[in-house]
């Protein structure tokens, strides 16, 4: 069922990772991604993987949930793999027929890219699974707040993100319901050629959009009724405050990045 999609879903918990300041986690994610792109050897990948698995273990997020969240990524992964296998020039040819050449280098590169994407996505999941969307947007807002000086609507953007995240499950459920209702009237969503399939989406998309607009309208009224008037003069229940834990996390981040850079410099 559509409801099972876990993208952007938060798993409440009380692990060390959960307790980190969202800003720390965001910066750590950036550090992690940079490190991932600096890492070019299997050894440095091994280090990164150990770090990632360590984080997952500490966070106590069930591995199954992460694997399930990967499902929508399969197409991108396959595409990346195929592209790399066929497009990479190399010396050790494993297979050659017609205009296609498969080389050892190509296969290695493909594997490399797939692992990189997998680790990238898993890292991002770890952030969204362990951080409530509100904490996440608070963190982003706080990190980006210097941009307010150049008139970037930082608060508005984070509010929008927060609401979008809040309504993803609601709209997914709604889509599910509309699909069932139209199927009950004999709508055929599976068969037919591409054009027919696109046409079959109209009975789903029109009600979905109508409903989304209605919800947006009602939500806007409800927010106004609760005295929402933009970011000016707004306070927070949970103030972001760095603790010792965050300092330690930053240290780990610096060590990780430095380690991976060293490995890259020494060409390992």
């Amino acid at each position: 069922m559509l409801k099972d999609i876990t993208l952007g879903q938060f798993f409440p918990g009380d692990s060390i990772i959960h307790r980190l300041d969202p800003r720390t986690k965001l910066v750590m994610l950036v550090v992690y991604i940079v490190a991932l792109f600096v890492a070019t050897s299997w050894i440095s990948y091994g280090v990164m993987l150990a770090f990632l698995l360590g984080c997952i273990l500490i966070s106590r997020i069930p591995g199954k949930s992460i694997v399930r969240g990967m499902k929508p990524m399969v197409i991108i992964l396959v595409f990346t793999a195929v592209l790399n296998v066929f497009m990479t020039q190399g010396e050790t040819v494993w297979l050659r027929f017609w205009i296609v050449t498969i080389t050892k280098e190509g296969c290695i590169r493909a594997l490399f890219m797939v692992v990189r994407i997998l680790m990238l996505v898993t890292g991002t999941f770890l952030l969204t699974y362990t951080t409530s969307p509100i904490a996440l947007t608070d963190g982003l807002e706080s990190l980006l707040s210097p941009l307010k000086k150049i008139r970037m609507p930082v608060h508005e953007l984070s509010m929008m993100m927060c609401i979008a995240l809040r309504f993803i499950p609601t709209l997914i459920e709604e889509t599910d319901k509309i699909m069932s209702a139209q199927k009950a009237r004999g709508a055929d969503l599976e068969s037919g050629n591409l054009l027919q399939k696109v046409k079959a989406l109209v009975p789903i998309l029109v009600p979905l959009f109508v409903s989304a607009f209605r919800r947006a309208d009602e939500l806007a009224t409800a927010m106004e009724c609760r005295c929402y008037h933009g970011g000016d003069g707004r306070t927070k229940m949970k103030l972001l405050r760095y603790s010792r834990l965050d300092l330690e996390a930053y240290c780990v981040g610096v060590i990780l990045l430095a380690g991976v850079i060293c490995l890259a410099v020494f060409g390992l």
Binding site: P12, R226, C227, T235
Partner: protein
Amino acid sequence: MSEAIRVDHLNYAYPGVEDTPGVAVFTDLSLTVEEGSFVAILGSNGCGKSTLAKYFNSILLPCGGKVYVCGMDTSEDDLLLKIRRNVGMVFQNPDNQIVANVVEEDVAFGPENLGIASPEIRRRVDQALQQVGMYEFRKHAPHLLSGGQKQRIAIAGIIAMEPKCIVLDEPTAMLDPRGRREVMETVLKLNREKGITVVLITHHMDEAAKAQRVVVLHKGDVVADGTPEAVFSQVELLHKIGLAAPETVELCYALRENGFDLPLDRLDIEGCAQVLHDAVRT
């Protein structure tokens, strides 16, 4: 006793599209709600009851006449925030009024907008959640809760602003009997224990029967106003405008047509059974 809400000769028409004239919703409506009271506003679909609610906290502004909330004129821009923190609104669809992904963060949304200091917000959020009996759910994701629970979260989000008055616009229309009971019990408790003025807009007769005062709206006009007993005994009037009385009254009414001599003001099971018992025995 002072007035929580005063509507003075309210006049409003939906703006017409292009050349067509607008549709009049209220021509000359006056109504006051006493502080600390529990008033139910009853009416069929399209009688203007939901539109009326939107005047109580400046979502709509009168074309003619005035609406005062706790003595403040709702058409004054400077008072907007003060009015809205004093009159909280709860709407029909619980899904479309919950902003945040975690229960307690949502309840904190209102106080945060008011610029209240963080420890005080924490205190208010915990207190509000306890009052609606949802404290143990404070870390949950709202979309996984039942309709009645979601609606109680929405109420907590309002009382965390510590308003003098709560306006609920058909809060139980989308709930099952259990959810309806939960919401009604919460609302009654807030009125009784905290002295919060409650305006409940509904078309469920049994809910209106729990109020201290019932106002019946029809085509933008007040057609009946009084205690539930006084209003619901006007069965013919209610039928004429597309409403019904609670079943106990409808039963007594039907029996009267059949030659029984019964009062029409028994809204509860016990009272109704008592008069029926006496009527059959004699």
